[in-house]
Amino acid sequence: MGLFERIFKHPSWGVHPDDHKRPAADVPLRILPPPARVYMPLHQHVGGVARPIVLVGQQVLKGQLLAEAQGNISAPIHSPVSGTVTAIGDITAPHPSGLSFAAITVDNDFAQRWIETDPVADPFALAPEEIARRTAAAGVVGLGGATFPAAVKFALGKRLAVGTLIVNGGECEPYLSSDDCVMRDFADQVIDGARIVMHAIGAKEALVGIEDNKPEAIAAMRLAAAKFPEVKIRPVPARYPMGSDKQLIQTLTGKEVPADARAAEVGVLVHNVSTCAAVHRAIRLGQPLVERIVTINGGAVDKPGNILAPLGTLVDELLAFCGLKARPARLILGGPMMGTPLLHGRIPLVKGASGILAFDAREATIPPAGPCIRCGSCTKACPMGLLPLEMAARIRSGNLDAAVGFKLGDCIACGCCAYVCPAHIPLVQYFSHAKGELAARERAKLRTDATRRLADERIARLEREAREKLALAARRKAERDAARAAGAAAKTKAAAAEQPAGATT
């Protein structure tokens, strides 16, 4: 990169944290010995919770459907091992609340018996709809962390006639290298998967954005893509959050996704490199998503690196496999910038888990928050052009509506602002709190509206019933009156009839 590009082309947004990716990224991929028991949560994706279709005690094969998708946006769950279903019930969720949610527990018989797969030799002969169907059936979701069902995005891309597929190899989160590992070791799968996705959505070209701090991955991907001119490998500057959809789209195409709109509306669709590899396996090999590559990293880990592990493996087992130098001071699911803190390691590996970080005490120390000195570092760092300090000040004083006026809803929670803050103010915490509060308020409003509607309807019904009763009573009375009148008339008539008769007699 020349000086000119360094000064003028380098994105003005974002932050550049120490990436801490090496040496973990350079360690060869290791394969976790199959665990004795796996726990498959029913909700590892955005959308509806999967519905179990197996029974406790049932024998299952590796790749067998355990729970089916439920609703338009959902994904099925498959068994990562062959063995016996031993429980269907609650386990601790990978969420800081430590709440529990439903999972299917499978005891491994270590036989590694696969289901009968249905490989496709030439996916490009299949109809795009068939590719989407098979991808959905394989339970493939966005593996970059978003976990949105991949096939739903295919349908969207097809419908909006997306011309460009963007393959996200940004992996801008520090410490993580699972996408890097996939690109280095399985570049052919990624490129093939990307081409299958292009076919599924009808895209003309694919742009693979890879941060320039991954030269090995760029070289491997260039080699794999050499035969396919429609797939272009595009190194992008290493800058957090380059792996965020909106920022990567802007960097690669110059297009901006309008607020409140989807990327497909500007003619692009983004899929992660690991997702593309999973699509390749789902279509070419007929294998559902039952394992993934996860980065185990952090100061407390003895031998950090990338591990290929069955889904449902406990975090504790992954950490034990890599060894711990010290008791972790903080455990994180995902990267340090956006990851979820885990309160303990008895939590299963899920589809969206690109990394497990065990921080030592030094890494986990964040100085106490001080007062805002309005230095403006957060506004310079915000990749969305927001004013974090102004929003936080409004939220702090409870004025959530004013924060919404500063477009709180556009915040992507990337954490740049809180990262650069010299006063170490937990800005994202403020924003998450406000978003949660606003969502709760919205729900309450909907509920009140529904209650009011029901009450109004009840009043209307009661009034209608009263009216009807009155009308009925009036009608009955009229009828009665009429009958009486008719009776009287008949009587008179009869009397009249009798009279002449009588008169004649």
């Binding site: 909106k246 607020a259 001080g370 230095c375 403006g376 477009k407 990262y419």
Partner: protein
């Protein structure tokens, strides 16, 4: 949950090694060369005045923190009170008596900062609030300039004499060296009907080097500018406010000087006089009291510069940096609410972009 690790806090789980204290320390380091030059130029009384002012500012801060029932030490360690006192000290006449420093230092942190709620809450620049309060309350002491008498030079007061100057005010024996700043001198002469073409001949012309009468640390333009440029290189401040402020002074000065050189000072003299340099690089760039966005900072800086020139040229006071900065401080919230960055996916007004755009 007995085996729980850490606490459930929101991401990010990493943070910068930067801190408010480090920012303040860097600014002080950038300010140090010009201050040391001032110490050398004006001798021991300047050192004493600086010490007294900084101590008073810290004392005021500590007093308010204790009143709030807070620990004073951690808040003092962020360095903001020291910096406030320091900025005030370098803007004072170097031989001002001790009580000027005490009054100013206390005023700055107590009334300029803590009554608003402490660090980050004040609307006005605390050092400038104190400077203006002093200027209005004690105009005589605040305009008693001295000609440079560098340390250890012949005629320079020794340690004991210097202590006497600071404690008792300027002794009669030193009256000879009492001097006027160029801005004050020309203003007085203009008022007497002597135009610039005649008065400037006898005036102590300001230069980049800084060996002329003036405030404790405001004369060495080259050292102040070097410190300011260092802060820009370290990304502590951006170029917007200093550039706009200096341009705001220089542009109208150059135009009117071209029109009537007998009535209006030239741009160079304006930039090298009084607090223009210090104001542009160190005072107006204060984070708390200046706008947050680059465009807002350009407006703010230009306003500071223009008002400085207007006050110097047309108002009663010879120097206007402090007043100009305070006036612009008061419009900072307005600038911030009207000048915002464009949000990704939205136009400048905040409406969503059209997908075709």
């Amino acid at each position: 949950m007995s085996h729980a690790i850490g606490i459930a806090v929101a991401a990010p789980h990493a943070t910068t090694s930067n801190s408010a204290g480090r920012v303040m320390a860097t600014v002080m380091a950038a300010l140090a060369p010009a201050t040391l030059f001032g110490f050398w130029l004006y001798g021991w009384p300047a050192v004493f005045l600086w010490l007294v002012t900084v101590s008073a500012a810290m004392l005021g801060e500590a007093f308010c923190l204790r009143l709030q029932g807070r620990q004073a030490t951690p808040a003092l360690q962020d360095g903001s009170a020291v910096l406030t006192g320091w900025l005030l000290a370098v803007s004072l006449p170097p031989w001002a008596p001790w009580w000027i420093g005490v009054f100013g230092g206390l005023f700055a942190t107590v009334l300029g900062k803590q009554v608003f709620g402490g660090l980050g809450q004040n609307l006005f620049n605390p050092a400038m609030v104190a400077r203006v309060a002093l200027l209005i309350s004690f105009p005589l002491q605040m305009t008693a300039w001295v000609a440079p008498l560098p340390l250890f030079s012949t005629g320079a007061p020794g340690l004991i004499d210097s202590l006497r100057i600071t404690l008792n005010g300027m002794p009669a024996g030193y009256d000879a060296i009492a001097s006027a700043s160029l801005l004050g001198f020309t203003k007085t002469e203009l008022a007497r009907g002597i135009d610039l073409l005649h008065s400037l001949v006898q005036a102590p012309a300001p230069g980049w080097y800084g060996k002329h009468p003036g405030s404790l640390g405001e004369t060495a333009a080259w050292l102040i500018a070097a410190g300011g440029l260092a802060l820009m290189a370290l990304r502590i401040i951006s170029w917007h406010i200093p550039f706009a402020m200096l341009a705001g002074i220089a542009v109208p000065a150059a135009i009117l000087h071209a029109v009537d050189p007998a009535r209006y000072l030239d741009a160079g003299t304006h930039l090298l006089s009084g607090g223009a340099m210090l104001g542009a690089f160190f005072i107006a760039t204060d984070y708390v009291t200046s706008p947050n966005t680059p465009r807002g900072q350009l407006i703010f800086g230009a306003g500071c510069g223009l008002l400085t020139w207007v006050i110097r040229t047309f108002a009663g006071y010879p120097e206007g940096v402090a007043f100009a900065v305070l006036l612009m401080n008061s419009v900072t919230p307005i600038i911030d609410s009207y000048v915002k960055p464009r949000i990704y996916g939205r136009d400048r007004k905040g409406a969503a972009l059209e997908p075709g755009q």
